[in-house]
C-alpha cells in the first residue's frame, strides 16, 4: 500500500506547507546533512563505487548543494529511490531534493505539486537492440518485443511512436533497470527502450557493449533535472542557483583548477559576484559568501562534471550534443548572477 502512504504523506506535507512554510534549509542545517534522493543505481548518473561512495552526474548536483550549505561535499545522505517511490520520498519529506534523472512534465509540476529547479541533462527516449538483429532504424521494429519500465513517461511515448508509425509491438513491462537488463540480455525482448543516456549507461555495464547498438531515432523530449517540493521557494531558489552556478562557472571559465586564483579577484564582476568577492548573493540565499565557491570546488563546473561522469572519455561515452553551453550550440544556459 505504498500509494496510501503516498496519499497520507501528500496530505501531511500539504498541511505542513500551508500552516507554516517552515524552512527546509533550517531543517537541513539543524540535521547537519542533506538528504538527497537518487536512483537505485545507474552507472554514470548515480551509483556507489567499489568503496560504497556514491558518484555520478546526478550525485554531483547533491554534493554541490551540500557544499554550498555546509562547505562540505560529503555532508550528504544518499537515499536510493525507484521510479515508483521517488515522488513519495520527496513529498513526504524523506528527502530534501531529488536528483534522479526525472523528466520535467506538466503533470508532475502542476498535478503532483513539485518544483523542477532546472534542467541538468536534455535527454530523449531511444532504442537499444543487439547488433545481430541487423536493425538500423526504429522504423524497422514492426512486430518486435520491447522491454519497458512501467510507470514512466517512456511507456506512453512508446505507445504513441508505434501507433503513429502504424506498427505493432509486444510490450514487456518491467519494474527496474536491472530486471530489464536480464530480460534483454537473455533475448526475451528484442529491444530495450528508455532515455538515451540511460541506454548508454546500461550498455556500458554489459560484458560486450560492442554487440549492442543504440538506434539513431530519439522519439521524445526528456528534460531531466533536480526537483524539490512545492511550497518552500527559498529552498527551491537555493537548489536552482547552485545548479546555475555550476553552469555559469563553465560559461565563465571557472574550473576547479583555477578557482582559487580567480577568487583573489578578477576584473569580471560576474565572476566576482559568483565567488562572493563582490556583492552579497550568498547572504540573500541565507548562506555564506563563499557558497558558490564551495559548490564549484566540490567537483568542478558543469562541463567538468559531465566529462568526468558521462563524457566521451568514460565508458558511457556521451557527447555534449544538446547539453553543450548555449555559446557552443547547445541548450545549457544559466540566467545571469546579478
Amino acid at each position: 500500500m505504498k500509494k496510501t502512504v503516498f496519499l497520507g504523506a501528500l496530505a501531511v506535507t500539504g498541511l505542513a506547507a500551508g500552516a507554516a512554510a517552515a524552512g527546509t534549509l533550517d531543517d537541513v542545517k539543524a540535521r547537519g546533512k542533506l538528504n538527497c534522493g537518487v536512483t537505485t543505481g545507474l552507472v554514470g548518473f548515480a551509483a556507489p563505487d567499489a568503496n560504497g561512495v556514491w558518484e555520478g552526474f546526478d550525485v554531483a548536483v547533491c554534493r554541490a548543494v551540500a557544499a554550498a550549505i555546509f562547505g562540505d561535499p560529503t555532508a550528504v545522505e544518499f537515499i536510493p529511490t525507484t521510479g515508483k517511490t521517488r515522488f513519495t520520498a520527496l513529498a513526504s519529506g524523506e528527502v530534501d531534493m531529488l536528483a534522479r534523472n526525472t523528466t520535467w512534465t506538466f503533470t508532475r509540476d502542476v498535478d503532483l505539486k513539485f518544483e523542477f529547479v532546472g534542467i541538468n541533462y536534455y535527454d530523449g527516449q531511444g532504442f537499444m537492440v543487439p547488433k545481430s538483429l541487423g536493425v538500423s532504424s526504429a522504423k524497422e521494429l514492426d512486430g518486435a518485443t520491447v522491454c519497458i519500465q512501467t510507470g514512466t513517461t517512456t511507456e506512453l511515448n512508446l505507445a504513441d511512436f508505434f501507433r503513429s508509425n502504424n506498427m505493432s509491438y509486444e510490450p514487456v513491462p518491467i519494474e527496474t533497470n536491472a530486471e530489464a537488463q536480464q530480460q534483454f540480455l537473455a533475448g526475451a525482448c528484442d529491444v530495450y527502450t528508455t532515455d538515451a543516456s540511460g541506454l548508454a549507461a546500461t550498455r556500458a555495464t554489459f560484458e560486450n557493449p560492442g554487440d549492442y547498438v543504440i538506434l539513431p531515432e530519439i522519439i521524445s523530449k526528456e528534460p531531466l533535472g533536480p526537483l524539490v517540493r512545492h511550497g518552500d521557494n527559498a529552498w527551491g531558489d537555493l537548489v536552482r542557483w547552485t545548479l546555475n552556478a555550476l553552469i555559469s562557472a563553465e560559461e565563465l571559465g571557472i574550473t576547479s583548477a583555477n578557482i582559487d586564483e580567480l577568487r583573489k579577484g578578477t576584473n569580471n564582476p560576474e565572476i566576482n559576484r559568483i565567488l562572493g568577492t563582490e556583492g552579497n548573493l550568498g547572504e540573500m540565499l541565507g548562506l555564506s559568501a563563499d557558497w558558490a565557491y564551495n559548490a564549484i570546488k566540490a567537483g568542478g563546473n558543469y562541463g567538468e562534471l559531465f566529462e568526468k561522469n558521462i563524457g566521451e572519455n568514460t565508458p558511457i561515452g556521451l557527447s555534449r550534443g544538446l547539453n553543450a553551453q548555449w555559446k557552443d550550440g547547445g541548450l545549457i544556459y544559466s540566467p545571469p548572477f546579478r
Partner: protein, 418 residues
C-alpha cells in the same frame, strides 16, 4: 379481604439507561456504534478535505480518458486509445484467467498429491511430504520469480529457431514452440465461422464458441438423462445396463458435428520477423504466475485432502473391501465423496488465497487488474485513492462470488441428516 392488584407499573426514566441492567448493555452498544461512526465520518471527511485542499477532489472521470499505454495480453479488443476503464477491464479478465487456470490446476495437483501422501509406498509418500513442505514454506513470490527466471534463462530465444541449422526446434511435429518469450501452441480456427456478435457495443463474443458450448452442454445433459434411466433400472432390477458408449457418443458426437460444420482446423505458430506469429501465445509471465500459484496452492490443498481422507473412519475402508470393491473403487466411490465434505470449506479459502495472490503478477510483468488499474493507470493519472478503492471493491466482489459458488456446492454435497 384482600384484593389482588397489579404492582404499580414503573414508569421509564432516563437514568434507567445506565442503572437498569435490562437497558445498560444496549446503551453501551449504541454509544459505541455512534462513536465508531463518528470516527469513520471524521476519517472520510478529513481525507476529502485534504484532497480538495491539494486540488485533487475525488473524481472518477479519469476512467473515461484515453489510457495511452499498451497491454500485451488482452482477451478483448484494446489499444492505447481505449479508456482507462477498458484497460482496467482487460486487467480484470487477465486476473480471472490466471485465477481460473490456477484453481483448476491446483485442485488437480492437490488431490493427487494429498492422496499419494497417504500412499503405502514409502518413497512416494516421503517425496510428497518433501513437495508439500518445500512449497508451502517458501513465499509464493519467490516461486513466481524463480519460474520466470527459469523460463527466461533456459529456454531458447525465437532467433535460435531461425536459419538452416537452428539450435532450437519446435516440438510435437512443429506445432508447439517453447521460447523464452512464452509458449506458442496451435489455435483453433474455423473456415466457415459464424462471426461475432457485439454485446452492448463493448465486447465481441464469438458465435462459434457459443455454438460449440451449446452442443457440448446439450450432449452432457442428454448423457445425464441416460444415466438417470440406468440408475432407475438398476434400482428396480439390480442390473445396470451398459451405457458408457451411448453416453460418450452423446457428449462427443454433437460437438464433433458442430466443429466439422464450422470447418474446424488448427492454426500453427510460425516464425515471422521478430517473433512467432499465429497460434496462441502463452506469455512466460502467464505461465510463471500460473505454475507458481498452482504449485504453491496445491501444497495447501494436498494437506486439506489428506485431512479429509484421514477424517473418514477406517471402518468405511474395511466395509468397502468386505463388499469386494477394489482399492481404487474404494477411494473413488467411498472415501473421496465423504471426504469432500471435510475438504471443501478449506478449499474455498485456498481458492480465495490463490485469486488474491495473483496480484503479485507485477513481479513478472503480468498485466492483471493490479498492474493496469492499480499500476500504470494510477501512476499516470495520480488518482491513488480512487484506483485503490476501485481495486478493493473489485477483489472483494471476485472473492465473494467465489465464496458464493463454493458455498452452494458445499450445501449440495453436505451430509443430508434426517
Amino acid at each position: 379481604m384482600t384484593a389482588l392488584t397489579d404492582p404499580p407499573k414503573e414508569s421509564f426514566r432516563l437514568s434507567m439507561l445506565i442503572y437498569d441492567t435490562r437497558y445498560r448493555s444496549m446503551t453501551i452498544q449504541v454509544v459505541a456504534l455512534m462513536g465508531f461512526m463518528l470516527l469513520f465520518a471524521w476519517i472520510i471527511s478529513n481525507t476529502l478535505q485534504n484532497l480538495s485542499a491539494l486540488g485533487k477532489p475525488v473524481d472518477f472521470g479519469f476512467l473515461f480518458e484515453p489510457a495511452g499505454y499498451d497491454i500485451n495480453q488482452r482477451l478483448i479488443e484494446y489499444n492505447s486509445q481505449s479508456t482507462h476503464l477498458r484497460a482496467a477491464f482487460v486487467g480484470l479478465l487477465n486476473t480471472l484467467l490466471v485465477a481460473a487456470l490456477g484453481c483448476a490446476l491446483a485442485t488437480i495437483l492437490g488431490v493427487i498429491i494429498g492422496v499419494l501422501r497417504l500412499s503405502k509406498n514409502w518413497l512416494v509418500a516421503r517425496l510428497m511430504t518433501v513437495y508439500v513442505e518445500a512449497f508451502r514454506n517458501v513465499p509464493v513470490l519467490l516461486w513466481i520469480v524463480l519460474v520466470m527466471a527459469i523460463m527466461i534463462e533456459t529456454m531458447p530465444p525465437p532467433r535460435d529457431f531461425r536459419g538452416d541449422n537452428p539450435s532450437a526446434s519446435m516440438l510435437l511435429g512443429d506445432s508447439v514452440a517453447v521460447t523464452n518469450r512464452g509458449v506458442y501452441i496451435p489455435e483453433p480456427l474455423f473456415s466457415r465461422g459464424l462471426g461475432d456478435i457485439s454485446v452492448f457495443g463493448a465486447f465481441d463474443i464469438s458465435l462459434d464458441l457459443i455454438a460449440i458450448l451449446i452442443a457440448l452442454f446439450g450432449g452432457i445433459y442428454a448423457s445425464k438423462l441416460v444415466k438417470r434411466r440406468a440408475d432407475r433400472i438398476q434400482e428396480a432390477t439390480g442390473d445396470r445396463p451398459t451405457t458408457w458408449y451411448i453416453r460418450l457418443g452423446l457428449v462427443v458426437l454433437p460437438t464433433l458435428a458442430v466443429l466439422i460444420a464450422l470447418g474446424f482446423h488448427l492454426g500453427y505458430p510460425e516464425l515471422k520477423g521478430f517473433n512467432f506469429k499465429g497460434g496462441i501465445h502463452m506469455r512466460n509471465s502467464l505461465i510463471a504466475l500460473w505454475l507458481a500459484l498452482s504449485l504453491y496452492t496445491a501444497a495447501f490443498i494436498a494437506e486439506a485432502v489428506r485431512a479429509g481422507i484421514l477424517a473418514i473412519s477406517k471402518g468405511q475402508t474395511e466395509a468397502a473391501y468386505a463388499l469386494g470393491l477394489s482399492r481404487s473403487q474404494t477411494m473413488n466411490l467411498v472415501i473421496l465423496p465423504q471426504a469432500a465434505r471435510v475438504i471443501i470449506p478449506p478449499l474455498i479459502s485456498q481458492y480465495l488465497n490463490l485469486t488474491k495472490n495473483s496480484s503479485l503478477a507485477i513481479a513478472v510483468g503480468y498485466m492483471d487488474i493490479t498492474g493496469t488499474l492499480g499500476g500504470i493507470t494510477m501512476n499516470q493519472t495520480g488518482r491513488e485513492l480512487e484506483s485503490i478503492l476501485l481495486l478493493m471493491a473489485i477483489y472483494l466482489s471476485i472473492s465473494l462470488s467465489i465464496s458464493a459458488v463454493m458455498n452452494w456446492y458445499n450445501k449440495r454435497v453436505k451430509l443430508v441428516e434426517r
